[in-house]
């Protein structure tokens, strides 16, 4: 993992409620760098999050909504956020009560730093 990417993921992982921050290749869902709690399966998270993002991207293209930039999924025990640029996807797994607005802004800033 290169230093700027590690630093960026570290910044995201330090936000309140964040359990994992992953940088992955958008096209194949393979993690390039991960900072995660021990109980988080980062590979599965990256694969699922990028696949979901691709599906919704195709759906949005079919609807003529243009480029998809951000996804957030709320589940019973956590929230998943994805933001992408080019072939880079940043993925964050957070607690259900994590502040979505703060995470969204932080992820966009982080993406600008690494993309």
């Amino acid at each position: 993992m290169n230093a700027p990417l590690r630093e960026t993921l570290g910044t995201l992982a330090a936000l309140p409620g964040v359990r994992a921050a992953v940088a992955a290749t958008r096209s194949d869902g393979m993690p390039a760098a991960t900072i995660a709690a021990v109980d988080v399966d980062a590979d599965a998270l990256a694969a699922f999050a990028t696949a979901l993002f691709e599906r919704t991207t195709l759906s949005n293209e079919a609807a003529g909504y243009g480029e998809t930039s951000h996804l957030s999924l709320d589940a019973e025990h956590g929230r998943v956020f994805v933001t992408t640029k080019g072939d880079i996807a940043l993925i964050v797994l957070a607690e259900p009560d994590a502040a979505a607005g703060l995470l969204r802004v932080s992820m966009q800033r982080a993406l600008r730093a690494v993309a």
Partner: protein, 278 residues
């Protein structure tokens, strides 16, 4: 209109027969009610610029002012063949469709025009008015679900209109897909007014099951909602009964919180509708 300005355009055309100054000149003459003169300049301009969408549009406007809607329609149609995104011609076609009460066509043309020029508030207002009329007034139904009054109360039309009264007159759309991505209810139109529900559904078939499986593996439990931000829209999805998915989309400037609220209402309505249909 300043007479000097009119004369300046006329002088320019006299100096240069190929000048495009006839377009603002025709428009100004129309506004002054000098329709015959406007028509002469429009025809002369069109002779010199037969492949300019703006020239056909200029003549179409004059024809529409004369009440010759069939000829105006032909000119605007021709302009759109030359330039499918020609804004003024899309508006013109929308206007003609509205006048003959073909609201679906009016919505289609105005939506395409707005897509090409999203900052046009007047156009947005016209589109809202058409959509409101298209949906009809909301009336409470016997099962507690509010529905628009449909001209033909068929089951299929009821399904299409399931979310209409929730969506209001803004640029929003909603859809209910079954586990395979097939459309159960609602409509989904793109920025140009084209129905894209089947295409959207095709990409989302099996999403609920896939999400459920993956989230279980990640120890995150059931999924509750998904919000996706795209360039022109915010889209929100939620699981419904039997692996179905409810989708709501709203223009990008709609607050995400409002989209979530709409999603919750659409989900509730979908659940009631599926329960009643079972």
């Amino acid at each position: 209109m300043d007479a000097d300005r009119l004369q300046a355009w006329k002088d320019e055309i006299a100096r240069d027969a190929m000048s495009m100054a006839f377009i603002p000149l025709v428009d100004a003459l129309r506004r002054l009610g000098r329709l015959e003169e406007a028509r002469r300049y429009a025809l002369r301009g069109l002779e010199r610029h037969p492949h300019a969408a703006g020239a056909h549009d200029a003549l179409a406007r004059v024809l529409a002012d004369f009440g010759d809607e069939a000829q105006a329609h032909d000119e605007w149609s021709f302009a759109l063949r030359l330039d499918p995104s020609h804004n003024a011609s899309l508006r013109g076609m929308g206007f003609l469709a509205y006048k003959r009460r073909d609201l679906a066509a009016a919505e289609k043309f105005l939506a395409r025009a707005l897509h090409a020029n999203p900052a046009d508030d007047g156009l947005a207002a016209a589109l809202r008015r058409v959509r409101t009329e298209l949906r009809g007034p909301a009336t409470p139904a016997t099962n507690g679900i509010t529905r628009p009054r449909a001209p033909r109360a068929t089951a299929a039309e009821d399904a299409r209109q399931l979310f209409a009264s929730l969506l209001g007159d803004a640029d929003r759309t909603a859809l209910l897909l079954d586990r395979d991505g097939l459309v159960l209810a609602g409509t989904y139109v793109d920025g140009s007014g084209r129905e894209v529900a089947d295409e959207v559904g095709a990409h989302l078939g099996g999403l609920a099951e896939e999400a459920t499986r993956a989230l279980r593996q990640l120890g995150l439990g059931r999924w509750d909602s998904l919000v996706v931000e795209a360039q022109h829209a915010t889209v929100a999805l939620a699981p419904s009964l039997e692996g179905a998915v409810v989708m709501v989309a709203a223009a990008r400037d709609t607050q995400v919180g409002l989209v979530r609220r709409l999603l919750a209402q659409a989900r509730q309505r979908a659940t009631a509708w599926m329960g009643a249909a079972a």
